[in-house]
């Protein structure tokens, strides 16, 4: 009895379980980043393939992967490596895209034909003093919420040197450029999460943007 219910129990339900299936050697703390990265890759692939509902196809891809794992059709042993498992996910996405194109019979208008100039970003220089104050409060507020390691890396590599001087910064810190780049990316992801998950910070972000002349869509 117990063995039957065990057999029926889904093997993969959570992101951590999915990561453990795709890449068993990855530390649990990096699981979210890993799945987020793959999801972003799927999203870009569908967008570049001019699919109208790219988000839906991303969700459908993951749903198929989970169904196949949980039905017992797939096991980690069927694949030689993480790259192969990632390749399998891409294969599912590719088939889904083909089916979608066959069913829909058309793709989105090619945006390259769009001749509009699009929204422009306000200039970086000459921000009014009031805006600078809002901005400083926002950045300080976000930094206060980060772990000291993330705060230090953002202070050094983003706020002072800037992303365009990462190679110099890496040399000064005696670490490799790739290692620094990864640390900056992770710290910036947490910076962004802190902004979007905090209502006061999100409001400060919008106030600062609007003060600087950012036109909301």
């Amino acid at each position: 009895m117990g063995s039957v219910s065990e057999a029926l129990k889904p093997k993969v339900e959570t992101i951590n379980q999915l990561v453990a299936w795709l890449k068993p050697d990855l530390p649990p703390a990096e699981g979210d980043d890993y799945v987020r990265g793959l999801t972003e890759s799927l999203k870009i692939y569908f967008e570049r393939s001019r699919v109208v509902a790219s988000e839906d196809l991303v969700n459908e891809t993951w749903a198929i992967v989970l169904r196949q794992i949980n039905s017992g059709d797939l096991s980690q042993k069927d694949f030689a490596s993480d790259d192969a498992r990632r390749g399998y996910v891409f294969g599912v996405a590719k088939n889904l895209l083909r089916e979608w194109v066959k069913k829909q019979g058309r793709r989105k208008e090619d945006p390259l034909q769009d001749g509009s100039d699009g929204p422009s970003v306000p200039p970086l220089e000459g921000a009014p003093v009031d805006c600078q104050k809002l901005l400083t409060e926002l950045v300080d507020g976000v930094l206060d919420r980060l772990r000291s390691a993330d705060r230090d890396i953002i202070q050094t590599a983003v706020l002072v040197d800037g992303p365009r001087r990462l190679e110099e910064t890496a040399t000064a810190m005696s670490i490799s450029y790739d290692a620094l780049r990864k640390r900056v990316s992770r710290a910036m992801a947490r910076f962004k999460t802190a902004v979007v998950t905090s209502e006061p910070l999100s409001k400060q972000l919008q106030s600062a943007l609007s003060c600087l002349g950012w036109v909301s869509e």
Partner: protein, 260 residues
């Protein structure tokens, strides 16, 4: 290798901007899944495109493609907004004037009291102060020297500097082999969160906010770790710190860097 990486960057940039034909899209997409390094490069190119966009360094056609093909969801719009704000922040920090060099009221009173004493008393006070701060600083220096990454500038306060070298610029010896300069600053209270800035002329060249107070040998101190590359040989810098909560005027100390 470098050339191939540059070509990969170019291809990924065109992929993200929607400038590739369908068969190339599939080829590039597949590689982003199968090749972990290529996937990491894709992330780099996304960040670079976002930076170029906010700095206005994309070509007009690239900018149009970025708007039409890349900036198509809230998450990426948020990335652009944050990159833009941080770029404005950097511009602002690099051009903002240095705060005035003011010693806080409490410490100014103590300093004034010391100044009114005879030279021998002043010398004794200075020696006592130095002994109480040099030993722990030396200990930290010895500990950190083990991996040769940190130069410790010691516990230096405006008061001590004023007693020793009134009005003079302090020379800060920095080991050229180190990559970090740790600076210990005495603060009057065990509470508070501080902003610390390194200023060169009118510009802030390094800054940290939210620095907590620590206790060292009974003293309340804040410690900051500044990348050595921040400092250039022979240049003068002002290190300023201010309690973010009490809003008392900023304190500061002036250093000339001597790379050893």
């Amino acid at each position: 290798m470098m050339e191939s990486r540059a070509q990969d960057r170019e291809l990924l940039s065109r992929y993200l901007l929607g400038e590739l034909e369908a068969e190339d899209v599939e080829r590039v997409a597949e590689r982003t899944f199968m090749d972990r390094d290529y996937f990491d490069l894709l992330e780099e190119v996304k960040e670079d495109l976002t930076e170029d966009y906010v700095h206005g360094t994309l070509t007009p056609i690239q900018r149009r493609h970025f708007d039409a093909n890349y900036l198509v969801n809230d998450e990426r719009r948020k990335d652009v907004q944050i990159a833009y704000l941080l770029a404005v922040y950097r511009k602002h920090r690099s051009t903002s004037p240095a705060p005035s060099q003011v010693t806080s009221g409490f410490w100014a009173l103590i300093l004034e009291a010391i100044r009114r004493q005879k030279p021998t008393f002043r010398f004794a006070v200075a020696c006592t102060a130095l002994l109480s701060i040099v030993l722990p600083a030396l200990l930290v220096w010895m500990l950190t020297r083990a991996d040769r990454v940190t130069t410790v500038a010691g516990l230096m306060t405006p008061e001590i500097n004023a007693v020793r070298d009134r009005g003079a610029v302090q020379v800060l010896p920095v080991e050229s082999g180190s990559d970090t300069v740790a600076i210990f600053l005495s603060v009057p209270s065990a509470r508070g969160r501080f902003k610390v800035e390194v200023q060169q002329g009118p510009s802030a060249v390094w800054r940290q906010a939210g620095v907590s107070v620590a206790s060292l040998n009974g003293d309340s101190v804040i410690v900051v770790f500044i990348p050595r590359i921040t400092f250039e040989q022979g240049k003068e810098y002002v290190i300023a710190w201010q309690d973010m909560e009490s809003k008392v005027p900023a304190e500061s100390v002036r250093y000339r860097i001597h790379l050893k």
